[in-house]
Amino acid sequence: MRDAVAVPLAWSVFLAVLAAMLWVWSPGDELAIALLGGAAVGAALSGFALALGARRTTERRSWVLPDLSPATSLLAIAISVVLIGLEAGQWLIWIGAGLLGFGVLGLVRELRLGRRRR
């Protein structure tokens, strides 16, 4: 997986060069420089995260893959309901929060079961 780490890092170098060019060309354009520079930093960070993940994956070789995860679907739907509740009213936020609670509990249960099976 080490060769994969080079991909986001190389990409971050490309972006950093382009951001530096923008900075030289247009030093007063702070927001534009921050956006492009931020993307370069983000790409570099994802490269480092990948390198870190690679080390952990070699340490922990097996994991259980879920076939079904109703809790995940519930969580995603709950997040959407809460967000729409900001417009529709507090009643919908409460319903979304309830679903979110069920989703989190279900996910914890799924993860525990998975760990037991490993």
């Binding site: 060769d3 990409w11 490309f14 923008l22 060309w25 534009a32 995603a76 959407s80």
Partner: protein, 542 residues
């Protein structure tokens, strides 16, 4: 002897199907659900386009009110970009990237499932604006501030649109993380980065762009909502320009998110149907990485007319895009040269993509030049340009992908006759619709208008464009007939009906839950072609 199924067993089987559809984490099922959902949004957005074209066919208001027309063009663009073409591109990655790199499963399958639900919720939330008293959002898919603030655009439809965009962008981001993680961290033994197929490389750069740019859209939408609710976020000229920077930092990369996966598809199709190894593999990989990086730095060419950006820099980077694009075109054409080309439907669509996209790409060079952009800004020239890239380009490649991979996904071949009929209808429809728009725009017809004066002389070209859009509509009906007929009566495909080059053709059609029972040796980016070339000399000697 006939077997009678016990009613309770049938009921439990039905229940299992429902639960699987709701919560199944298999990447292939998630991708299928995503593709079907996105295609339904695509059809809905297409119907809106037909309504708009019908309205524009003649001067005067015939079909819809001006307010409804504004909602139609806003929702057409929004559905197409946020919840149709982008998710369709990602769905291809979710399904085929794990197969191409020899992975048993996608990285973080629960996250992929969540991504699907967020995207679906995003699309439905956007559309729910039609049910509100003020109607759906009506400020264009870009929602520029101050047009989109609470003073100029009242009603909950606009707020629902903002939430829909946030959900869709969040869904797209998590799906991209899953695909990227799979390619970078879940590859089969022997599958080094320089052995992954071109399509998977195109997904790597696509997902990098998604991960870096989509969160900025979420931020822009959150700020827009705060501005509408509390005010004081995007104030004055500076605020309007700041919003545009944030929006276009997503808005331009997303064009490439809807392009790179399809370049990858066309590369696979061209190599397979030319019976040749892809030409210039390393060159296209490096050009994709460079292309993606440069295309992250061109966003402000959409803002030339504001007078608030450094035009020279953004014009230069926009022009630089022709270099990697040229390498890709060169590689694909060189792959075909000297090949045993078989013109089946996927190849027709792939060649169609190369020709049609060229029109969009070349007209892009003109609008990347500030003086020319000032002339055509906000006219139908721009509409023609991006429809040549997104419809006449990406959608052609999308159909190449559908005809190419349908046998792998379903185990059945799509009908060739109907496929070719659809191809020619789309060629005629796309060009008859979008080519007149260049002339209309050059003549001064601005975009986003519901009506024009009879004295402008634009009626004939608008009639032609409307006729073309109906032909596109007919082509979609032909496609749907082909899909439903083939699902029932299509010829069985077998594992590798096209003599493909990459690993997805080494497994059954459709693939099992764990993707592969065994993998062939991986010594290049075309392991199945290696296997065939290795066998041939042996067969000759025995």
């Amino acid at each position: 002897m006939t077997t009678v199924e016990h009613p309770s067993r049938a009921a439990s089987a039905q229940r299992a199907i429902v639960i699987e559809a709701f919560a199944g984490t298999d990447h292939k099922r998630v991708a299928q659900r995503l593709a079907v959902t996105a295609f339904l949004f695509f059809l809905a957005a297409g119907v809106m386009a037909l309504l708009m074209r019908s309205e524009l066919a003649e001067p005067g208001m015939q079909l819809v009110s001006r307010n409804t027309y504004n909602q139609l063009f806003t929702m057409h663009g929004s559905l197409m970009i946020y919840v149709a073409i982008t998710p369709l591109a990602l769905a291809l990655g979710v399904y085929f990237a794990p197969l191409q790199v020899g992975a048993a499963e996608i990285f973080a399958p629960r996250l992929a499932l969540a991504g699907y639900w967020l995207l679906l919720a995003g699309g439905l939330t956007m559309c729910s604006g039609f049910l509100t008293s003020h109607g759906a959002a009506r400020v264009g898919w870009t929602a520029f501030d101050p047009l989109s603030n609470s003073v100029n655009t009242q009603g909950t439809g606009m707020d629902l649109w903002i939430f829909g965009v946030i959900l869709a962008a969040a869904g797209g981001t998590v799906l991209a993380i899953c695909v990227l993680g799979t390619i970078l961290a879940r590859r089969a033994p022997g599958m080094s980065m320089f052995r992954i197929p071109v399509f998977s490389w195109s997904m790597v750069v696509t997902c990098l762009m998604v991960v870096m740019s989509f969160p900025v859209l979420v931020l822009a939408m959150a700020l827009l909502y705060a501005d509408r609710r509390f005010g004081g976020v995007f104030n004055g000229t500076g605020g309007a320009v700041a919003y545009q920077h944030l929006f276009w930092f997503y808005g331009h990369p997303v064009v490439y998110v809807m392009f790179f996966p399809f370049v990858g598809v066309v590369a696979e199709v061209v190599a397979t149907f030319s019976g040749k190894r892809f030409f210039g593999y390393r060159a296209i990989v490096l050009s994709l990485l460079l292309f993606a990086a440069i295309s992250m730095s061109v966003w402000a060419h959409h803002m030339f007319a504001t007078g608030q950006v450094r035009n020279q820099y953004f014009s230069l980077t926009s022009m630089l895009l022709v270099l990697p694009a040229g390498i890709e075109y060169f590689d694909m054409i060189a792959t075909m040269i000297g090949g045993a080309i078989v013109l089946r439907t996927p190849m027709l669509f792939a060649v169609g993509f190369l020709i049609q996209f060229l029109v969009g790409g070349l007209s892009g060079i003109f609008v990347a030049s500030p003086p020319l952009d000032y002339h055509v800004h906000d006219t139908f020239v721009v509409v023609a340009h991006f429809h040549y890239t997104l419809f006449a380009g990406s959608v052609f490649a999308l159909f190449a992908a559908v005809y190419y991979w349908f046998p792998k996904v379903t185990g059945r071949m799509l009908g060739e006759g109907l496929g070719k009929l659809q191809f020619w209808l789309v060629v005629v429809g796309a060009n008859v619709t979008f080519l007149p728009m260049f002339f209309l725009g050059h003549d001064g017809m601005v975009r986003r208008i519901a009506d024009y004066s009879p004295g402008t002389g634009w009626q004939h070209l608008n009639e032609v464009a409307t006729l073309g859009s109906y032909v596109i509509g007919v082509s979609m009906v032909v496609f749907l007939v082909n899909v439903f007929r083939s699902l029932r009566h299509g010829r069985a495909a077998g594992n590798d009906p096209w003599a493909g080059h990459s690993l997805e053709w080494a497994t059954t059609s459709p693939p099992p839950r764990h993707n592969f029972d065994r993998l062939p040796p991986i010594r290049s980016f075309a392991p199945l072609l290696d296997l065939r070339e290795h066998r041939r000399p042996e067969q000759a000697t025995t």
